[in-house]
């Protein structure tokens, strides 16, 4: 697998001295779908902000497509390769209308107008917000704003997209729109890095990375992480179905193991 993001022995301390990341090693291949979870303040946002050179290492190094983020001349290429949707978007809108705002990214990439139109169309469609296209992004509801921010990054079609807790303000149906979009771009080869507190959203991921106190404390397939770690220790709640299947297994009922989905558990209970 070709390497997309290479993080070696990363240390980061904020200007006020807070050490947010400590000895982080993480290698992410092209086309992987990696979920990052961990308690509040564990370093998730600090980590992903290194991936597009918004933060630069205090020690160790981060490279994207073999380009080191410490070299300033690499930043334009790195930022083109990695799109990022931030936690809690409220005031980062540029366009007068939703459509303009979503078009801003691809326009900046210098794409031809027809192609831009097409990309805006597809992204609004994927997020289910086509009917909001002429609204001002500032006068939308919280969840609608979140979807506009996601559409804006999708429209740039970067090789890798980082989603930092983008579903925390969405209802179950909108959440599904986002997860479907993630599946769709992942299937087309986009690398996906997905930060969340809801592990039930991670079931399709290739890898689940757990952070605690600025360190990576687990990095394996979701099933293996659920099997091998007591995630409660890291302030993380298991998805209800996983927790229930583990309770039943621990109580001695055979043939259940760790079920990742409701259907898996049903299959084990009533084959």
């Amino acid at each position: 697998m070709t390497l997309m993001i290479e993080i070696q022995d990363l240390l980061y301390s904020y200007p006020d001295g807070t050490i947010a990341l400590d000895s982080v090693d993480l290698h992410i291949g092209k086309g992987e779908f990696v979920v990052i979870a961990g308690r509040n303040g564990s370093g998730k946002s600090s980590l992903v902000r290194h991936m597009n050179a918004l933060l630069l290492p205090s020690g160790g190094c981060v490279s994207v497509n073999r380009l080191c983020t410490l070299q300033k001349k690499n930043h334009p290429d790195i930022r083109k390769a990695i799109g990022m949707v931030f936690q809690g978007p409220d005031s980062q809108f540029i366009g007068m209308t939703v459509e303009e705002d979503v078009a801003f990214g691809p326009e900046n990439l210098g794409l031809p107008p027809l192609r831009i139109r097409e990309l805006v169309e597809i992204s609004l469609e994927m997020m289910g917000i086509s009917e909001l296209r002429f609204h001002s992004p500032r006068s939308l509801s919280g969840g609608q704003k979140q979807k506009v921010a996601i559409a804006g990054v999708l429209a740039m079609e970067p090789g890798c997209i980082v989603f930092d807790e983008v579903t925390s303000m969405l209802d179950p149906f909108s959440r599904k729109d986002v997860l479907d979009a993630v599946k769709r771009i992942h299937a087309k080869g986009t690398t996906v890095i997905y930060v969340t507190h809801r592990l039930e959203e991670t079931i399709n991921a290739d890898r689940l990375v757990i952070m605690d106190s600025g360190k990576v404390v687990a990095d394996a397939s979701p099933r293996d992480v659920f099997l091998q770690h007591d995630l409660e220790m890291y302030g993380i709640e298991l998805p209800p179905v996983v927790a229930l299947s583990r309770m039943l297994t621990r109580a001695g009922f055979p043939g259940i193991g760790i079920a990742l989905t409701k259907d898996e558990l049903l299959e084990a209970l009533c084959p």
Binding site: S141, P172, V241, A243, L244
Partner: protein
């Protein structure tokens, strides 16, 4: 003592091409010490509704009263504390202390009393005193939201209105916040929470209201909710499907522990899994 909403209709940008009726003829009331959840899809009108509770928005028609007074009356300000959906809209202080102290100071508190109230709000949410000297903008997303919540709690309002307080919180902080809120209701504070995580909060709630395109489409208890609501806790879905497959299990369950006992019971009477 209650918040009463009578035939509330609200339009953004009335009389312009952008006119948008975001609340349509809503009537409901919220009593003292109640724990209320407000849900509904994105854009359904939840934030618009709760912004009426402290007079931030005024009805296009209908009335909103708090303890018998119009919600935008000056006297109401101290009774209703509101957390906005984006905590950044609420934080402005140089330090966490300044931020949390803003409300109670505005209502006249000074000196030791002020300090105590600030510390106890932060403590209730699991923070150490040390956090007080930090800049609120140098915190993680979840920590920022908790500080914003502490700022609302510190004024000790009688009606606590929180727009998505659980969003972005980890499991531990969600538990801490939920028990802090439950504790407040036992002392007579009304807690009104807007959330997309209603299934997770059902066991704490007295009543749930659901909005859909500005209409109030459901009002009832947690038990009514699992009977009628559009999206159910996954555990409830599991029980329903087991029932459909011929297992004699209850399907009005939303707690993992209850599901565990129910499933254990039927598996034990069946002798083995899947027989």
């Amino acid at each position: 003592m209650s918040i009463d909403i009578r035939n509330l209709t609200f339009r953004y940008n009335p009389g312009t091409p952008l006119e948008n009726t975001s609340l349509k003829d809503i009537s409901l009331s919220i009593g003292k010490g109640e724990f209320i959840l407000i849900g509904g899809e994105i854009g359904s009108g939840k934030s618009t509704l709760v912004r009426h509770f402290n007079g931030l928005l005024k009805p296009s028609s209908g009335q909103v009263t708090v303890d018998g007074m119009a919600a935008h009356a000056k006297k109401v300000k101290a009774r209703v504390g509101v957390l906005f959906q984006f905590p950044q809209q609420q934080l402005f202080g140089r330090t966490v202390f300044e931020d949390v102290a803003f409300g109670p100071r505005n209502f006249g508190l000074r000196g030791n009393e002020l300090e105590e109230q600030v510390y106890s709000a932060l403590e209730l949410l699991g923070f150490d005193k040390e956090i007080c000297s930090n800049s609120p903008f140098h915190l993680s997303g979840g920590q920022m939201r908790l500080v914003a919540i502490a700022g609302v709690l510190a004024s000790m309002p009688e009606y606590l209105v929180l727009d998505e307080p659980f969003s972005g919180l980890d499991a531990e902080n969600r538990t801490t916040l939920l028990s802090a809120l439950k504790h407040l209701t036992t002392k007579g504070t009304s807690v009104i929470v807007v959330s997309h995580r209603i299934p997770d909060l059902l066991s704490a709630a007295d009543r749930i209201f659901l909005l859909d395109h500005g209409n109030l489409v459901f009002g009832g208890t947690p038990v009514d909710y699992v009977k009628h609501a559009p999206y159910l806790p996954e555990i409830t879905c599991l029980m329903k499907e087991m029932r459909r497959k011929g297992f004699d299990v209850r399907d009005d369950i939303f707690h993992i522990d209850d599901a565990f006992s129910e499933i254990s019971r039927v598996l034990n009477t069946k002798g083995a899994v899947g027989k």
